[in-house]
């Protein structure tokens, strides 16, 4: 429990409203231009907080090394994941921390434009960002131009290449990048895209140094991570924990005291893990052996009285609908998998549905332009393992009693269901 007692770093001092620029500087101190921020980021071991967990220092170095007059820094606060609320929470408390980080990175890579991207549906977060940007503009240190952008908040709109596509050409569609890592571009100008929480961490590392950053977290995955806990909990919360904290202790914050049936980690394209792994430390190295990762900091709790197949089916159906429908394997494959799962949930499906589902998963994997289908496949495949017992019963036409009304994973209402491409 010691790590939990450590004070939060990003979600510090809740005023019930966003901190003003003056209050912000009183609390965190003024932002001084640090010496060698790139070296500091490298030795801090900071990894992106948006899901992929790529080392931030490496990514920044890639863009800094590009020779171009027009470079861009993008703050990704789209948060299209229905179970994630961390970026909005951060912006509702310390928006200037995010903007500090973005300005420091812009200075580092030589960018003159910062685009802060918030989904157009998140009206409160938009207000907070607008107010913060105006406050800084009145302060009048204009070496960088900060602009708010509000793309439509579809799930896929937050995917980095789709977001850059929007900024470049007003389309929230992912781009095909055969070679990785690829440098995304607006016009011909290189773009550095980082999650809002990553930017906030950069602001703190710039102030307090890499050694301070490593005081919390693990050697391989240092620092803190914001976690959104939803599902079968008494109170859904967004909290900040030191990486490496046992999952059980994190769940306790949301009032979960009993061992859950299962947990969905990372996001809706994440991994189901069995409830008995609840003592696993919450960091990427510890989660890797059970096939999971911290991802975007999403934890969905599935209590004992629930049906994992029904929940998985529900998520898969929604994720299929969220496909950008650019690539055949994703546009046709995901609805086909969702329909297999729907059959299994209701008891109409048989063993052939399971075989078909597994085959489709392996056929679709890796064949989209972005990682959307791969995420869904990972989620479904982990469900087939974790809920293996249930699955066997469902496949014999005996769906569990909970299947009909088990709805712990919240999924937005499908707005375009009639357009779903079923097989």
């Amino acid at each position: 429990m010691t790590s939990l007692e450590a004070p939060p770093r990003l979600l510090v001092g809740n005023l019930g409203r966003p901190r003003t620029l003056v209050e912000h500087e009183q609390l965190f101190g003024p932002m001084t231009s640090p010496g060698d921020l790139l070296a500091m980021l490298d030795s801090s071991g900071l990894r992106g907080r948006g899901g992929a967990g790529f080392p931030t220092g490496k990514k920044v170095a890639l863009i800094a090394g590009e020779r171009h007059r027009h470079k861009y820094v993008v703050v990704n606060a789209m948060e299209g994941e229905p179970a994630a609320h961390k970026d909005r929470t951060l912006l509702s408390m310390n928006p200037h921390l995010v903007l500090d980080g973005a300005e420091a990175l812009a200075h580092l890579v030589g960018a003159h434009e910062i685009a802060v991207c918030v989904a157009r549906e998140s009206s409160k977060a938009i207000d907070h960002v607008e107010r913060a940007i105006n406050e800084r503009a009145r302060r009048g240190r204009h070496h960088v131009n900060v602009e708010l952008h509000t793309p439509p908040g579809r799930y896929i709109a937050g995917e980095e290449s789709a977001l850059v596509h929007w900024l470049d050409d007003n389309e929230t569609l992912p781009q095909y990048r055969p070679a990785r890592p690829t440098i995304l571009r607006i016009g011909r100008g290189p773009v550095l895209v980082d999650n809002a929480e990553t930017h906030a961490n950069v602001a703190l590392i710039a102030r307090r140094g890499p050694q301070w950053f490593r005081n919390l977290g693990t050697l391989e995955h240092p620092g803190t991570n914001m976690v959104s806990i939803t599902g079968g909990v008494d109170r859904p919360v967004v909290t900040e924990v030191a990486l490496g904290t046992p999952i059980r202790d994190i769940l306790a914050i949301a009032g979960v005291t009993q061992t859950p049936r299962a947990l969905l980690l990372g996001g809706y394209g994440g991994t189901w893990i069995d409830g008995r792994h609840v003592d696993t430390p919450y960091d990427n190295e510890s989660l890797a052996p059970i096939g999971a990762s911290v991802g975007a900091g999403v934890i969905v709790v599935l209590p004992a009285h629930s049906c994992g197949i029904a929940e998985t089916s529900n998520i898969a159906r929604w994720m299929a609908n969220e496909s950008a429908r650019q690539c055949g394997p994703c546009a046709f494959g995901l609805p086909a998998m969702a329909s297999n799962l729907a059959d299994l949930t209701s008891g109409r499906g048989r063993g052939t549905s399971v075989i078909e589902l597994r085959e489709r998963a392996s056929v679709i994997a890796g064949r989209g332009a972005c990682r959307h289908p791969d995420g869904v496949i990972r989620m479904v495949q982990s469900a087939l393992t974790v809920f293996g017992d249930d699955l066997a019963e469902h496949a014999k036409g005996r769906p569990c009693a909970m299947a009909a009304h088990s709805r712990f994973v919240s999924v937005p209402r499908l707005e375009r269901e009639d357009e779903l491409v079923w097989e």
Partner: protein
């Protein structure tokens, strides 16, 4: 003298591809179609200038109505 690439492989841009399926006809050694008619391309690497595979691969690239296929140089 410029060195020739060791090997090439057939690749598809999944956004450009509309599932016409011509590639599976033109290069059956390399391409099969999934149940929705989209190509599954074998990871086969082949020498660029000899052999029937290279010939079929070039036909597939030229024959794609969406120009979604290309040949990529890869290390052997």
């Amino acid at each position: 003298m410029r060195r020739r690439p060791d090997a090439i492989a057939l690749r598809v841009d999944p956004i450009a591809c509309d599932g016409y399926g011509h590639c599976a006809e033109l290069a059956p050694e390399l391409v099969t179609l999934d149940e929705w008619g989209y190509p599954i391309i074998a990871e086969t690497r082949f020498p660029p200038h000899r052999g029937s595979i290279a010939h079929s691969a070039r036909l597939a690239v030229r024959g794609c109505p969406r120009q979604a296929l290309w040949l990529e140089r890869v290390a052997q």
